[in-house]
């Protein structure tokens, strides 16, 4: 399932009457089975870009091409569960076709078995995020969008959830788009990294990662990160001198 994003611009009119450019031209495409990662400073327009890709915002210039029948699984920054429905109902409501076996497997992988009948208000943030993950995977998505799914979790839990995401992504052919500001998450999960500029967002650099995800050891990851850091430093230095001039 191929996802093509070609945004030529997005502006919004503020209450004061001025127009602001939120997105500069952005163009990329992801193939089935690929994990694309958007990395950028907060407030650069990542969320706006996601809303456009998800079809929640139609007021932009450009086009988004995805098969119309594509099923979308989404993990929002906040879990966005229905507080008045149990964990299991929350999942079954968006994924009515999910089999008991599949659901049991998801609950096992994400260690949610004891929380099936709990209400979201009774869960910690970490658990609620896992429910949101389970929900996104239960719909058997063709396109999976993860918006900072590991933010504000402690390192150990974030690490385990990251491994679980990797397992789930590997278990079926799915086009994945991950938004994060953690370089570590990006390097461990991504196949292609897109570095975004501050607002209005444009793609500064596109970095493919050649080593398959399963084969990336700690050493390989450290090497990739070091390479990226060198590159980023060079760019940032350039930008800084540019700013000094102005």
């Amino acid at each position: 399932m191929r996802l093509e994003v070609e945004i030529t611009g997005k502006t919004y009119r503020s209450a004061a009457g001025g127009t602001h450019e939120v997105l500069a031209p952005v163009k990329f495409a992801l193939q089935s089975g690929e994990v694309g990662v958007l990395i950028g400073p907060s407030g650069c327009g990542k969320s706006t870009m996601l809303r456009i890709i998800l079809g929640l915002d139609h007021e932009f210039q450009g086009r988004i091409a995805r098969p119309p029948q594509a099923r979308i699984g989404m993990v929002f920054q906040e879990p966005r569960l229905l507080p008045w429905r149990s964990v299991e109902q929350n999942i079954r409501l968006v994924a009515p076709d999910v089999t008991d076996k599949k659901l049991a497997e998801l609950f096992r992988i994400l260690e949610l078995e004891q929380h099936r009948s709990h209400f979201p208000g009774e869960l910690s943030l970490g658990l609620a995020r896992r429910v949101a993950l389970a929900r996104a995977f239960a719909v058997e998505p063709d396109i999976l969008v993860l918006d900072e799914p590991l933010a504000s979790l402690d390192d150990a839990l974030a690490g385990r959830l990251r491994d679980e995401i990797a397992t789930l992504v590997a278990s079926r052919p799915v086009t994945t788009l991950l938004v994060t500001h953690s370089l570590d998450d990006a390097v461990r999960l991504g196949d292609r990294l897109f570095f975004l500029s501050p607002r209005p967002a444009r793609i500064l650099a596109e970095v493919p990662i050649g080593i398959p995800r399963e084969a990336r050891g700690d050493a390989a990851i450290a090497a990739i990160k070091a390479g990226l850091a060198r590159q980023a430093q060079g760019e940032q230095g350039g930008e800084r001198s540019g700013r000094d001039v102005s």
Binding site: G73, M74, F76, F119, G121
Partner: protein, 245 residues
């Protein structure tokens, strides 16, 4: 237990007051009970209560369903809000008596006129409450439902309706008490039966025991319906919320 005690206190106060004031103005509890028994055994009490309850039910259901639908639309669609708002303000401030009298003049002294008049009195408060509820809907959950392509009806039932339930309960609660009050006026002015009609007759004859017998039976029925129907519904609608300590 505490409720019973409070009720007993009320009876005692009444009885003592009746002794001071005298039977013509304020009959004692046994005198009123006697009239109740007489009216009940002749069947008149149940006939009039039944007629009133039927009117309350019809007017309440009509006003709640139409009012909720209009309120939801006005909360969702800006144009509907703009168009409906002046009418809403007019209806909110129109005295109940005006609506009832006009309804009887235009539609005749009919059952339909009475029920419509009662419903119109309750309608604007239902609209206002539901409009507020709709405006307070969580957009992020709406977006979630859209991204996951939830069918409209399922999204309405599981995403929207639970958020509206407290507003519906509040509007049912306040609306029911409004309907209880207005139904008697409508009956007094233009119906040949019902508790309001009986109270009108008792007033003309200055028959206080009869007046109290009907009023108190009516109040008791209201109390029972509130405790058995409205309160459990409210509790169910908000059961997922953490309990207040």
């Amino acid at each position: 237990m505490l409720r019973l005690l409070s009720f007993a206190l009320f009876l005692v106060t009444w009885w003592i007051a009746a002794l001071f004031v005298g039977g013509a103005k304020l009959p004692s509890p046994p005198a009123v009970l006697e009239v109740m028994i007489v009216e009940a055994s002749s069947g008149a009490l149940f006939l009039h209560l039944g007629a009133t309850l039927a009117r309350v039910t019809l007017a309440f259901v009509l006003a709640m369903s139409v009012g909720s639908a209009i309120g939801y639309l006005m909360g969702r669609i800006k144009l509907a809000d703009r168009l409906g708002d002046p009418w809403l303000i007019l209806l909110l401030n129109l005295p109940a008596l005006v609506v009832i009298v006009l309804a009887y003049i235009w539609a005749g002294l009919t059952e339909a006129a009475a029920i419509a008049a009662i419903a119109i009195n309750k309608l604007p408060t239902a609209i206002v409450t539901l409009r507020e509820g709709t405006r307070a809907l969580d957009r992020s959950l709406d977006e979630m439902a859209r991204v996951f392509a939830m069918p409209r009806w399922r999204a309405f039932r599981h995403v929207v309706l639970p958020q509206l339930a407290p507003y519906i309960a509040a509007s049912a609660r306040s609306g029911l008490s409004l309907v209880w009050k207005i139904v008697l006026v409508a009956e007094l002015l233009g119906r040949p039966n019902g508790v309001g009609f009986e109270i009108g007759v008792a007033f003309q004859l200055f028959d206080t025991p009869r007046l109290l017998a009907y009023s108190l039976t009516f109040a008791a029925v209201v109390l029972v319906i509130e405790t058995l129907l409205v309160q459990p519904f409210e509790a169910r609608a908000t059961r997922w919320r953490p309990r207040a300590a």
